[in-house]
Symmetry: C2
Subunit: 277 residues, 2 copies
Amino acid sequence: MAKNLVRAGYALTVYNRTRAAAEALAGELVSIADSPSQVAERSDIVITIVTDSAAVEEVIGGPEGVIQGIKPGSVVVDMSTISPAVERTLDKELRSRSATLVDAPVSGGDVGAIKGTLAIMAGGTRKAFDRVLPLFEAMGKTITYCGPVGNGQLTKLCNQILVSVNLVGVSEAIVFARKNGLDATTMIKAVEGGAAGSWQLSNLGPKVVDKDFDPGFMIDLIQKDLRLVLEAAGAASVALPAASMVHQLFTSAQAFGHGRDGTQAVSQIVSRLSNLE
Amino acid sequence: MAKNLVRAGYALTVYNRTRAAAEALAGELVSIADSPSQVAERSDIVITIVTDSAAVEEVIGGPEGVIQGIKPGSVVVDMSTISPAVERTLDKELRSRSATLVDAPVSGGDVGAIKGTLAIMAGGTRKAFDRVLPLFEAMGKTITYCGPVGNGQLTKLCNQILVSVNLVGVSEAIVFARKNGLDATTMIKAVEGGAAGSWQLSNLGPKVVDKDFDPGFMIDLIQKDLRLVLEAAGAASVALPAASMVHQLFTSAQAFGHGRDGTQAVSQIVSRLSNLE
C-alpha cells in the first residue's frame, strides 16, 4: 500500500515496529521515523494499518502514539479492521487536538494491496473523506463513503458476515455432494453461473475440494472479525443466528489446529460432522 | 421450454392437466395428447416437468402415466426438482420396459425458461444424456452431465443449499447494517465486487432493502427443496447445521404468511428477530 502511494507521487514518513520492514521502503520519497508520534509530527495525513483494536489504541493513542505528535488539521486514516466503537473513541481524542479520524478498512487481501485493487470502506466526515480520497484511489479500486466514523468498520463487518456464512453454505454443499457420490468439481461448475454463484464458491470451493488450506485469509483473523460482528450486534440488539453459528464452527476449526489455515478449512469441520475425511 | 424446442425444429406431442395450456401451444409442429401415456406412445423422447415427487410418480408411473405407453428404446427426461430416490425407482420401472430415465432439473426461473438460458443438471447413462443433449441445448445454456440417475437432482439440491444459506447471510448483513445506522444499499455496493459478492447479494439484496417480496422463487418451493435436501442428507448421514437452521427460518416465514412470497422475504424473519420492521 505504501509502495502504491509512492508510485502515485506521495512523499511518505514511515514507521514499523520491525524497523527493517520500514527500511525496505526507504528511498527518495520515503523517510523513516522512530515512532508513530514522529510520523504524525512530519505528516498532514497519517495512515495506520495494524492487527486489532488494542494495536490501534497503542499506535494512535499510546505513549508514543500518533496523538502525541498530531498537528492541528491533520487527518488520521485507520485502515485496520477493528471495533467501530474504538474508532469513535479515538476520533473524539483526535478532535480535542483539532484533528479528525477516517476509519477505512479494506478487503481484497495481499493481492489487492499489491495490485492497488483493494475495496476501501470509509467512515468519517465527508470533508475528511474527500481530502484523503486521492490516496485511497492510489491504493484501491472500489472506494465507498459509508457515513460517520465507525461506518467503514460496520460495512467491513457486513462483508465478514457475508463471506463467512456463505463459506459454510459452500462447505455444506460440497460435503452433501461428496457423501452422495457427486463429483464436487462438476457440481460447482454446474451451479456457479446461476443464483447459487458467489466469489466464495468459485474461488474457495475448488480449494475445499482439493483440501488446499493455504491462507488467503486466516481463520484466526475471521474469528477476530466475527467477535467484532457479535460485539457490535450485541450492542445494537441484532440477533444473528447464522453468523453466530458459523463463528462456533470456526471455533471448532481452531480447536482442530486450523487457526492459521485459510477460512476454507472450516470445511474440515463440516466434513467431520458427517464422519467424512 | 416447449416453445424453444419448437423453435429449434422439434415436433412435439404435448399434454397438460389444464388442457387450455397445452392448446395454447398447438400449431404446425405441436399436437395435443389426452394423457401422458398417449404422449409416450407417440414420442421417442418424453419430457416431464411438474411440481413434486408425487406429481412425477403420477405423470410417469400412474394409471395413465408415461410408462403405460412407453416404447422400447425411449428416453424419459424428468426436469422437475424432486427426490433423487424417486428418480432411481422410476428409472428401474422404465428399464423393465427397455426405456431409460434422465433426471434433469433446472435453475434459472421463468426468465431462463423463456430465454432458453436455463442451467440444466442431468443424471443418467452417458448414452441417454448424449441422445437428449441437443434438446437441452435448445432450452438451456449451462448443461452439465452429473453422473448416474439421481445425480441431476443431487446437484440441484446442492444449488438450493447454496442459495438458501447465502440468502440468510445476506439478510443478516442487511439487518446488521440497518440496525447500526448504515445505508444498506451503500453497504451492498461497497462489498459486492469482492469476496462477499454473490448472485443472491446483488440480485436479492436490493429487493430485501426495498421490501420487494415478489417471487422470483417462492418460499413454499424452496421449503419443498430443503425438505428434499434434508431427506437426502439424512439418508446419507450428512449433517447440515446451516441448511437445517435456514429451513427453520423459512418455516417461520411461512408461519407469518410469506409462503407465496419470494425467498427474499425470509429477511422479514431475520429482521423480526431483532425487533426491526
